[in-house]
């Protein structure tokens, strides 16, 4: 999928799998309407994690294309540095934060979110290996599929698409694939959090 078709189609793949927990909670959250809020979005990602920066760049592009008036800021964070994290999570005018992190960073960000009085709308974890992507998500207390797998080809684009839907309040779908034999150990594990003011 090239960038153009990704931007147009990537976030709205037709024959996909809906994440079961999201639908109900998203409807409650946004009154059943898909929205791209006007308030500024902060994308948090560590510079040292190239996957995360690539996905954040793509997300920023998608957000700009979908709603040019909406602000989007990116923050380079270090999961071990409380000051940089706190600075990003208290950025003025931001009302939503999407963080793409390694597992340890996600633990720290969740803890800081509580300290700062932020809400946690969605948390997802993605294990990627040659066999596929395994998704474990959680929204508003509802567990999503614990073993939802899809082909891992173009996994960064697939996850970016998922994160875009999560961020914009759309019940997310992702193209179903045919996962191959799993290795039992992820080569990449990413955690993603959507925090709200």
């Amino acid at each position: 999928m090239n960038r153009r078709s990704f931007l147009i189609n990537g976030a709205r793949v037709a024959a996909g799998i809906s994440l079961p927990g999201w639908a109900g909670a998203a409807s409650q959250a946004v009154g059943g309407q898909a929205v791209v809020a006007d308030s500024s979005v902060a994308l948090l990602r560590p510079a040292a994690l190239s996957h995360a920066t690539g996905m954040a760049d793509a997300l920023a592009g998608m957000l700009a294309a979908a709603r040019p008036s909406a602000g989007c800021r990116q923050f380079d964070i270090d999961g071990g540095d409380v000051r940089s994290l706190t600075g990003a999570l208290t950025a003025p005018a931001c009302s939503r934060w999407l963080a793409i992190l390694p597992p340890a960073g996600a633990v720290v960000v969740t803890e800081l979110a509580r300290d700062l009085g932020l809400g946690l709308r969605w948390a997802g974890r993605h294990l990627v290996d040659a066999g596929g992507i395994r998704h474990h998500g959680w929204i508003a207390g509802l567990e999503e599929s614990t073993d939802w797998q899809t082909d891992s080809r173009n996994w960064e684009e697939r996850l970016t698409s998922l994160y875009f839907d999560i961020l914009t309040g759309v019940a997310p779908t992702i193209e179903a694939g045919n996962p191959r034999a799993r290795t039992g150990q992820a080569n990449v594990e990413l955690a993603c959090l959507l925090l709200t003011k």
Binding site: A29, A104, V108, E111, L112, R114, G119, R121, A140, G141
Partner: protein, 515 residues
Amino acid sequence: MAAKRKVLPKGIDAGAFATALKEIAGIIGPGNVIVDDEKIMPYEKIMMPVPDHQHAPSAVITPGSVEEIQRIMKVLNRRRIPVYPISTGKNIGYGSAAPVQRGQVVMDLRRMNRILEVDPELCTALVEPGVTYQQLYDYLQDNKLPLWFSCPAPSAIAGPLGNMVDRGIGYTPYGEHFLFSCGMEVVLANGEVLRTGMGAMPKSNTWQVFKWGYGPTLDGIFTQSNYGIVTKMGMWLMPAPPDFRPFCIQYPNETDIVKIVETLRPLRVAMVIPNAVVIAHTLWEAPCTPVKRSDYHQGPGAISDAAVKKIQQDHSIGAWNVYAGLYGTKETNDANWKIIEAVAAASGGKIITQEQARGSEATQYRFDLMKGKPNLGEFGLYNWRGGGGSIWFAPVSQAKGAETLKQMKMAKNILGKYGFDYVGEFVVGWRDMHHVIDLLYDRSDPEQTRQAYSCYEELLHTFAAEGYGVYRASTAFAEQVASTYGPIKRDVEKRLKKALDPNNIIAPGRCGISL
């Protein structure tokens, strides 16, 4: 706007609960009563191998003063609503901020975050529950006070009061934290305020310098318990030594733990090495180095000994890595350094000095912790297995080599049986060792989560059968752990609970104590 909360305290209907929250909002302001799902979710996230909903709070309240807590306790007492107090809620791997039982109201004391006093001459501090180690560190730095404290590994975000109340440990000479606390203020279930030790006496100025006061010493019963809400705590600070010389000694074989302990114990007991020494296994060091597990092990099951050996060779990590420091003047440290060199040479260890360790993440965060500099280096452990599952199994051992080897082998065998790695360390007290094991598992995998639960149970009961008790436990296993200490102790705890909290409203179930 997020969905409203559907979780209720046990035995309380929605109407009565709403009324109680309204009363509390009248005391602390509606903005400090949290019932929205999204805002509560960060309080519900746990790493234990049980479903989140078992520890879901019904609401969160954030009082800002002792007086507000006193008034809240009267409301909760009248309506029999259980409350779960947290200071900073960073008991990660032991239950985090989530209540011990579903439906309890979390009382988050983070707004009470004042450093009330630091006495640079007596080297003491008095802090509120929401003060973090980072905050205290910054205060000492900003005010150019040459004082250190001891902090645990997740210190930058955790706080001294909560850690001391849970009897946590750190890595400086003041590493046994409760031992270096001095004086508490406690709000009791009926709203009365108790000050322990010398704090009970009006006008006393010795609250933070003399622990005992007159009559029974009460501080201990407010640690790892649910008899009151600790709202202030005194702590002793350590004068920054003129010369600090941290070091690591690496040993090549797992069985070297015997001679390590036998060699170090006399130095620790005699306080030649004054700090809480850490003896960390390869697999504790590897994730913090960082090493990727998937580069050495694919597929299910525990990582093999051969792979662990390969990690040691590839990354210059010992089978055991001893972290300790000398704290003194240059002259005393020069003298003691000769002892350390001789001991390392005699026991087959390789010394790594501060200069040699430069650039090593795993070593640097340890050296920082040994001088009380908060950091989050140890969170690297959560990248090892991935999946967000972690539970601490922490039995106490005598500081004897044969005992530590026995415990290590027992733990490794049980963990391996369930497919988990031995990620462990020993933290040396004076005569004891805290054997701390991080049972890391993939919490998004239901089967692995079940296995982790079973594994912990087997660890607990196998160790208990040998007379080994744990010093601290997660909320999910509080009841089981308490039962390993026998019925008489539990009965006394229950009688104390009945006397101090007859309506059973403060954290019932915490540490297995309930009516």
